[in-house]
C-alpha cells in the first residue's frame, strides 16, 4: 500500500503547508493591515524582528515544519508527474532515489540556519 500512504501523506502535507503558509504570510503582512486600522506594530521584515523570531522555539518549529512538509509535497508531486512520462521502472527507481537525496540535502541545509541561530541564543 506504498502509493496509498504516499497519496494520503500528499494530502495531509498539502493541508499543513496551506496552514503554515497562512501563518507565515499573516505574520509577515499583518502589520500593513493593522497599520491601515491605526494599530502600530513592529515591522516583521526588519533584521531585529527576524532575529527575535529566530530565537523563539515556536517560530523555529513552524519554519522547519513548513520546509519539511513543503519539500515532501513538492518532490512527491514531481515524482507523480514524472511517473506519467513512460520512464522504465529502473529509471523511475533512480529518479525516486535522486528526489529523496535532493529532499534530504535541502532539509538539512534549510534546517541548519534556524537551529544554529536558536542554539546560539540559548
Amino acid at each position: 500500500m506504498k502509493n496509498t500512504y504516499l497519496q494520503i501523506s500528499q494530502m495531509i502535507t498539502g493541508a499543513l503547508v496551506a496552514i503554515l503558509l497562512a501563518i507565515h504570510i499573516a505574520a509577515q503582512q499583518s502589520y500593513v493591515v493593522l497599520g491601515l486600522l491605526g494599530i502600530k506594530v513592529a515591522d516583521p521584515t526588519t533584521w531585529v524582528s527576524m532575529m527575535e523570531r529566530a530565537h523563539q522555539g515556536s517560530w523555529v518549529g513552524i519554519y522547519i515544519a513548513l520546509l519539511a512538509f513543503g519539500l515532501f509535497h513538492a518532490l512527491n508531486g514531481l515524482r507523480n508527474i514524472l511517473l506519467e512520462t513512460n520512464l522504465s521502472a529502473s529509471a523511475m527507481r533512480i529518479l525516486t532515489g535522486c528526489l529523496i537525496a535532493f529532499g534530504v540535502i535541502f532539509l538539512i541545509l534549510g534546517t541548519y540556519t534556524p537551529i544554529a541561530l536558536f542554539s546560539s541564543y540559548r
Binding site: 506504498k2 502509493n3 496509498t4 500512504y5 497519496q7 494520503i8 511517473l83 506519467e84 512520462t85 513512460n86
Partner: protein
C-alpha cells in the same frame, strides 16, 4: 429532414495500411444519407459501393458489442449508435480511437485494453475454492447490494473511455478507466472475497492514484457507466483499507437449494472415447 429525403454528405476517413503507408492520410467519400442513417451505415455503404478495402470493426449494429468505437469529429463515439444528422454538418471526420496502436484504417489494437482488464481479476473470487470449481448453488444477494455495482456491469469494453482519458493519452502504462471501473465493480460485489487482491493491483504505479479526475471517461461512455465515480470509490476503499477503517461484512452466503428443485442435469458421456 423528412424520413425519405436523401442528401449527400462527405465522410473524411483516416486511412492507414501499415504494409503500404508510412503515415496516415485522409480520403473523402461522398455518400447519400437520410434521416436516421448512422455513421456505421455510412461506412457499410462505402465498403459495399465505393471502396471495399476500407477497414473498420462492426458486429451487433445496436450499441451492444462495443466493436465500432471511433473518433467522429474528434470525439469518441460508437458508429452504430451515432446518427449522421446529430452533427448538423455536411462533412464528418472519422479517425480510429486514439491512445491505441492502429491495425488498419479505423481498426485500433485493443490488446492493451483487454490485458489491463484481465489484470484486475474481473471475476468473482471466493475463498472456498471447492465451491468455485464445482458450484452447488447460487449466492444470495439483496437488491440494495446489487445497486452498489449494477451500473458498472453495463461496460461493453468498447474503449471509448480510454480514448477520452487524458491520463491514458500521456501514460501508456496507466490501467485506464475501463479496467479500474471493472476492478471497483467486482470489489463492490457482495459475493466477492477478492477485494484485497484487487486493491494490491490498483494501488501500484500507473493505476488508481494516477487518475486526474477529468471525468472525460464518464462523459464519453455510450452505456452511461461512470468510471470516474468508480475510481473515486475505489480510492475510498483503498484508503479505508490502508488506514484499517474498512468495515468488513461477511460475503454473500450460498442459497439453499429448494427441496422441490429439480436435480442438476447430468453431463452426458463423451460420444468419442477420450484417450
Amino acid at each position: 429532414m423528412s424520413s425519405d429525403a436523401v442528401k449527400k454528405i462527405t465522410f473524411r476517413v483516416q486511412r492507414l495500411d501499415p504494409e503500404k503507408d508510412r503515415k496516415p492520410h485522409f480520403q473523402e467519400f461522398i455518400l447519400p444519407v437520410k434521416r436516421g442513417t448512422t455513421v456505421l451505415e455510412g461506412l457499410l455503404y462505402i465498403k459495399e459501393n465505393l471502396d471495399s478495402s476500407l477497414a473498420f470493426r462492426t458486429s451487433c449494429r445496436m450499441g451492444v458489442c462495443g466493436s465500432c468505437g471511433m473518433l467522429i469529429n474528434e470525439y469518441p463515439h460508437l458508429a452504430c449508435h451515432t446518427q449522421v444528422e446529430e452533427f448538423h454538418s455536411d462533412m464528418l471526420t472519422l479517425k480510429p480511437l486514439p491512445n491505441m496502436d492502429i491495425i488498419k484504417d479505423l481498426v485500433p489494437r485493443l490488446n492493451t485494453l483487454f490485458e489491463h482488464h484481465k489484470s484486475v481479476k474481473p471475476y468473482i473470487i471466493r475463498d472456498d475454492k471447492e465451491e468455485m470449481e464445482k458450484p452447488t448453488a447460487g449466492y444470495l444477494q439483496k437488491p440494495q447490494e446489487l445497486d452498489e455495482f449494477l451500473q458498472f456491469t453495463y461496460c461493453i469494453k468498447c474503449g471509448l473511455c480510454i480514448a477520452a482519458c487524458p491520463t491514458s493519452a500521456s501514460d501508456k502504462a496507466f490501467l485506464g478507466p475501463q479496467a479500474l471501473g471493472q476492478a471497483y465493480r467486482y470489489c463492490a460485489d457482495s459475493r466477492d472475497e477478492g477485494r484485497d487482491q484487487r486493491y494490491q493491483i490498483v494501488e501500484k504505479d500507473h493505476a488508481v492514484w494516477n487518475c486526474h479526475f477529468a471525468a472525460a471517461c464518464s462523459e464519453a461512455c455510450p452505456k452511461g457507466v461512470d468510471p470516474a465515480l468508480a475510481i473515486q470509490l475505489l480510492r475510498k476503499g483503498v484508503v479505508a483499507k490502508s488506514l484499517g477503517v474498512k468495515k468488513t461484512s461477511a460475503p454473500a452466503s450460498l442459497a439453499t437449494p429448494l427441496p422441490q428443485a429439480r436435480p442438476k442435469i447430468e453431463v452426458p458421456e463423451f460420444t468419442v472415447k477420450q484417450k
